[in-house]
Symmetry: C2
């Protein structure tokens, strides 16, 4: 195990040169401009003082640059994780209170420890619990929930709630208290940001700028909104007119601080930390893999766990909150030409400089502008058409996605994701608990055996050939017993049952018990069990039990060999029937 395996920066660092540095530097400038408003906004979304968002965008970026394997992933506060942070902390403490801030740091600490532990134990596969439909439903629903939650800042009213059932009535009730100056600022920002997202780049190009420059400038659209809004608020004394602003933001780099180290609270936050870690990891790895593939690079999931773990640990010790790799900003980083994680280092420096110099200027920034930034960003995450696609492809996957979507919207983020994961597992169990089994027969003129219901094949009356299209393991162990019982009961003349196992990739202890039970019951009925086409690894495992000695049957290399042994005459006759054409009815080349 080489050191450079755990420190990927040693690999790209060796060949780092001025060309890479200038490309990384340019990307860093653009990402910094994008990250400042996002950091403030996502901190607000997480129920934290805006400056914590900036804090969470300094050290975590450095930590990821040291341990992460993606060349272009941009780490920091992201919408979904901020929402989950708020959802897990608001029931415990008043938002923004010192206890709340301490608990957010503790959440980052726990998340970092969990991710690092998963890296050490190579438990990255746990993220597989979150299937694509569940993640997709979760992200769409989070986007809607976040956008609706930000409407109160746009309206200048108070409203809260962890799901739409609480939020919407509160918003409707508060509608008469709408603060019109705030709403106007909010709507103007929304209009500008929405337009900039769609058309700014084209417009700038039409004005004669190069595509590259126009694209980069367009990404600074939110910064322009912020600058204009700050100027308008301070010139028109809008704060005195009741427009809520960000207020005093502390100046200077975060000190190294300890999160609240309260064991009882830690135990209470652990489930939330686990969910945040898994969701953050899945989101980050998806982005990282997509971007890496475009340049024929690869990322290592275990290193990603470590990188994100280190990022969260450093967020915990520098006044931040849970972070992960963000989709939009990583794409911007990639498009702007970032070559190595050094772009992240430069971005961290950019944010650090901003914290030292710019924070006094942020005092008059209206919260409505930040809310508009969030709304525009998260609405791009909402993809309801995918639900229709998934449902059309598979009812089970569609149900899991819908359950996650509505669970998040109507109950809450954590409940929603747990419902989705639970339902995926349940539907999966249901699906494999009744595996496809086919009675097979010999295709005339060949050694092949195919499903009697799809092909014109020859069956022996005394030998039942049964193909099981699933691993034999606990979800279907009992079903196998039932199904074989039924088949044998309906075929009194059968003396041998050959279980054809090309699709059996595993026989676990539950299924082994069932096989023993099946053998006993078949013996009582005067039928002998045999196996055929058992794969090597499965055979190796069976040899570690006493099944092969006790079941009194044979293990044949192929179904043909089994029938040749058990019903020699019929098998030979069928093989020699060269007259019959290939009797395939159902399957064909579809290209």
């Amino acid at each position: 195990m080489k050191l450079s395996h755990w420190l990927p920066c040693l690999q790209w660092g060796r060949t780092y040169n001025r060309a890479s540095a200038s490309q990384d530097g340019l990307a860093a400038v653009i990402v910094t401009l994008m990250l400042i408003p996002q950091s403030l906004a996502y901190a607000m979304l997480a129920g934290l003082p805006p400056v914590t968002g900036l804090y969470a965008s300094i050290l975590p970026l450095l930590a990821y640059a040291v341990f992460g394997t993606s060349r272009t992933l941009a780490v920091g506060p992201v919408a979904v994780v901020s929402l989950m942070t708020a959802a897990s902390l608001t029931p415990l403490f008043p938002a923004g209170s010192p206890e709340y801030i301490g608990a957010a740091m503790l959440l980052a600490l726990l998340s970092g420890l969990l991710l690092a532990a998963m890296a050490m134990l190579r438990l990255g596969f746990v993220a597989n619990f979150l299937s694509h439909p569940v993640v997709s439903g979760f992200i769409s629903a989070s986007g809607i929930l976040i956008a609706v939650g930000q409407l109160k800042h746009l309206l200048g009213v108070s409203a809260s709630g962890e799901n739409l059932l609480h939020l919407l009535p509160e918003l409707l009730q508060a509608l008469p208290q709408t603060h019109w100056p705030t709403l106007i600022i909010g709507l103007l920002s929304l209009a500008w940001l929405g337009w900039a997202r769609g058309y700014l780049k084209q417009t700038l190009q039409r004005l004669g700028l190069s595509a590259q420059l126009a694209g980069n400038l367009a990404k600074a659209g939110p910064v322009l909104a912020i600058v204009v809004a700050i100027i308008a608020v301070s010139l028109l004394h809008l704060q005195q007119a009741g427009v809520k602003v960000v207020g005093s933001v502390p100046q200077g780099l975060p000190g190294l601080t300890l999160p609240t180290l309260n064991l009882e609270l830690a135990v209470q936050l652990l489930p939330a930390a686990l969910l945040i870690s898994l969701v953050g990891f899945v989101e980050s790895v998806s982005v990282g893999q997509t971007l890496a593939a475009k340049r024929r690079q690869r990322i290592q999931p275990d290193n990603e766990l470590l990188g994100l773990g280190a990022a969260n640990l450093s967020a915990a010790f520098s006044g931040g909150f849970p972070v992960t790799g963000g989709f939009a900003r990583s794409v911007v980083n990639y498009d702007a030409g970032a070559q190595t994680p050094m772009a992240g280092v430069f971005t961290a420096i950019g944010i650090g400089v901003s914290v030292m110099l710019l924070t006094p200027l942020l005092h008059d920034l209206p919260q409505a502008v930040l809310a508009a930034t969030i709304i525009v960003a998260v609405l791009s995450l909402v993809d309801l058409r995918s639900l229709r696609h998934t449902w059309r492809y598979s009812r089970q996957d569609g149900a899991a996605q819908a359950a996650t979507l509505f669970g998040v919207l109507l109950i809450g983020v954590e409940a929603g994701i747990l419902i989705g994961v639970g339902l995926s597992l349940l539907l999966f169990l249901w699906r494999t608990s009744q595996p496809h089994m086919a009675v097979v027969g010999q295709v005339p003129g060949s050694e092949h055996f195919r499903n009697v219901e799809r092909f014109a094949v020859v069956e022996s009356p005394s030998v039942l050939s049964l193909r099981v299209d699933e691993s034999l393991y606990f979800p279907n162990a009992r079903y196998l017993e039932d199904r074989i019982g039924e088949l044998i009961a309906s075929r009194p003349q059968v003396r041998h049952l050959v279980l054809m196992c090309p699709g059996v990739n595993l026989i676990d202890a539950s299924a082994l018990d069932s096989l023993h039970a099946i053998v006993e019951r078949l013996h009582a009925a005067g039928v002998q069990l045999h196996l055929s086409e058992v794969k090597g690894p499965v055979m190796d495992q069976l040899r570690r039990s006493d099944f092969l000695e006790r079941f009194a049957g044979q293990v044949f290399i192929s179904q043909f060999q089994a029938l040749k042994h058990l019903a020699p005459q019929l098998t030979r006759e069928t093989l020699e029937r060269a007259d019959t054409p290939s009797p395939i009815r159902d399957e064909r080349n579809v290209s």
Copy 2:
């Protein structure tokens, strides 16, 4: 849907005659004699007044006889379910208090409703979550925990605790307070019951009784212990000497009562009720299936759910607590010749008569005798050798069994079973998250394709043939992307990748997304994906997406057809190489 499907009693009831009745009657007498001490003992174990055990052995038996499909299953209070009842209620109320009794009835109500709902929704497969190793570990650990928990009654001291870590120190501390007369009664009972279990039948046979009669009398061993103990206690005035007795047991049948209908409490008890239902169902179905198979009968799991649900509902409304089918007593019922569930009806009548007539006689019954009854019964459930067997067969299954065993012993029954189920699922995901994949080549002289690492086969340099030995679904979707990326990266001359899918029984939405991603990445690398040997149901599903149009490759009926199309010359040459003998190295007929 016929009425007799839901009321199996209509089927056996039609042909019921005097011969069956006399056999059922005899079995009922023996089971009643066995059930009286067991009911009292398991009620004590559940922390309830002894009479509730008798109440739980009347109506539930009638209900099961109406709805159940097993001919010989004997329903009533059982050790494991009583332990789970106590574990879920003792943290809430003082044992034996009216609130505790009401909550036990509520638990039976919830359990009954859950079982009935599972029957209606055909959710019996949920019980598959409890794999054999988990159930085995759980039952062994429960047996140990129950036996240790009963030692306090044998010693005549006070001790409590939900796991060994609490129980053992308390017992050791209480050791100096041992009440010697109680201990002597307990040890004598234990000795008698242990001896009777092993040798009473033989001894009676040696005294000249027929095997049948000796066996039946031997089953009444516990009754003799009870009678002798009651006489000894009342003659020697042992209650005044400090021997704890059962005390006043109300006389007469239970009135129809309502359980505590407290919604908040119900929500709190729901998880426990679910676990009790599942464990009870699994235990009951295993016993039922085993006994039914011996007589070539079948049981219907959905009807069993309904039967047990009805049994628990009637327990809830007649002052009882959760019940299920018991192993020992069902075997006794079977051995004694029970033909139909009418034996259960007769047993219920026997217990009903006992409640009306015998309860005054039970006043002087020492608790130590009941404890001895429990200990002897549950120690037969403990099977630690099975752990070694499971571990030898499969590390994963062994780990799940050990985790359940130690979880129950060291933490508690509910935590233990949840840990076991969670670990099973986690290990299962881990196992399928990295499926076996084999690069395959053509076996010379044939149309077969086998693993290049196990067979001497011919590979085309430009066509990579990859066999996936697992369904493609969310646990392994990401792994597939990784693995194919690696393979292609290491084979620069490859132009076509044929995914051979005989072991792929499902492609879910997550895997479909991964396939899309794989196709895109392969295109970028100048490689075209094809599929071969796709099963009918999988093909049907793929047709419901746009994958087949978009992936630009072909779906071949067999791997041979694929290679014949993509590398015709090599394939033809290999097929014609008749000189090479069958190159099988690894697999062989092991019989």
